[in-house]
Symmetry: C2
Subunit: 331 residues, 2 copies
Amino acid sequence: MHILIIGAAGMIGRKLTQRLAADGRLGHATVDQLTLADVIAPDTPTRFGGTVNTIAIDLAQPGAATSLVAARPDVIFHLAAIVSGEAEANFDKGYRINLDGTRFLLEAIRQQGLQTPYRPRLVFTSSIAVFGAPFPDRIDDEFFSTPLTSYGTQKAIDELLLSDYTRKGFLDGIAIRLPTICVRPGKPNKAASGFFSNILREPLSGQEAVLPVSTDVRHWFASPRAAIGFLTHAGTLDLARLGNRRCLSMPGLSATVGEEIEALRRIAGESAVRLIRHEPDQTIIDIVAGWPRNFDTRRAVALGFKADADFDQIIRIHIDDELGGKAGAGA
Amino acid sequence: MHILIIGAAGMIGRKLTQRLAADGRLGHATVDQLTLADVIAPDTPTRFGGTVNTIAIDLAQPGAATSLVAARPDVIFHLAAIVSGEAEANFDKGYRINLDGTRFLLEAIRQQGLQTPYRPRLVFTSSIAVFGAPFPDRIDDEFFSTPLTSYGTQKAIDELLLSDYTRKGFLDGIAIRLPTICVRPGKPNKAASGFFSNILREPLSGQEAVLPVSTDVRHWFASPRAAIGFLTHAGTLDLARLGNRRCLSMPGLSATVGEEIEALRRIAGESAVRLIRHEPDQTIIDIVAGWPRNFDTRRAVALGFKADADFDQIIRIHIDDELGGKAGAGA
């Protein structure tokens, strides 16, 4: 099996690459070729016996998508996007990359198939940003998309295109809407959602972190390991079971900031919790108030997608996968 | 006020032009200029005192949208589209006209505004084809879009784009999803939905008509006069009341084929009803089974959009507006 990952240099792309390289298979199929593409050339995975090609390419450039699908990969993971803040600040760039880039990819696949039959699996990472407030307490599988960002608009359009290209038989697509990833590894960043990870990751390494909202704020989470599980399951599941409705909110864990902190206390102790400094920030409070808090994802659950059990598990996954099994404070 | 109608040569476009020309105003504003565009040059309305420009133009050609908005019309009605059957048969043409054409228009408006401030009202005719079966008995204002045609996909994407361009302040947009127009004037055509109108229009003129489905089939209707009412109301309503949710299913009349026929009997008598020949057609039965039957349009109703009262009214509107007040059979 030949797998193409577009957006392979990002956090999720690197973890997916590592997982596929380490397993050497996707479901029952042996992976003998990995093509890893991103705007900067992705790293080559170390533990992989097959062929690896790494490519620096901008999907939004004419011809880029055509060159990526020319080798007819069996499964394509399309993770590439510019993030919400950048798409909001740069209207043209957001549409060029997040809409046109995806459309070029779909169209390149179709054109391959018009030459000789070709119908690859396409797994696309969409976002809960396709939803816009006001929300019901739990967003169900039939709630409408009224995004309040250009990023969410672009993802919602990509979902519609993927569904239509699938319905017409040009590819076998699925769009999965990832929850907010937590604990996100790396350094604190300026994303408005960054604090959800910062208040765990930093204290676990003995560092201070700032909490800009109150502890009763509720949000929707998945660990990086759960996210990779969603992707590999989406890459192997019989998609005929989805019928024509190919876009799914993934099962996450709905939890409050207070529940995050209690889990941190149980696992890393009071000294870790004391590293969280509460500094209310009205700008972030207002942004977060417009975000989804909870979902009813019964379709995805029935199809075998699995959420994290609780925040204790989410923290332990971070300690196992990023900290070599040891928290740095309070232990 | 300068009004631009794109798609002015179609059935709805011609009726909207006649209405605006006859009234000489839209809401409280005097209409002093009409620009009428379509792929073939629209007719010039007779009863209008202001300036009329008619233009033959293909919105999907580069530069076409820019030239249309260069004169900075105050209100734009965008009715142009290729129909569902053609968009399904010709994938590239459907996307070129129904998606790219609309996007060019939105972008041309934005580019005008980037030069000097410009924020026109844009009224866009979307379609209930944005919804795909299976449906609830009544589709409410928050039901999701899972179109089962490329046409419906293109309209759903246009809705998302219009909403985002509105949210960003580039224009003041509203998308209205029209019910099936009935009684559609003109000759019987090959559209799968044609029989809903044929079984009334033809007998009212003393002609036979074929009914390919059973009389218990339920569907969602608006008269041409109601549709023009939706458009003019959308052109004058304070759209700030819609917030960021700019796409609305219009209130229609949910009725069965049997109810259509009973109204025909009341108005035109048994001799008219006898002109309907029941010839079941499994292809049409299957297509129609996938169509919406009823909606809960409480948002549109609260905003002042008005449905037809019953099928008797729908038939009388046809007799008044198309037959000079006299039915040709059974009277």
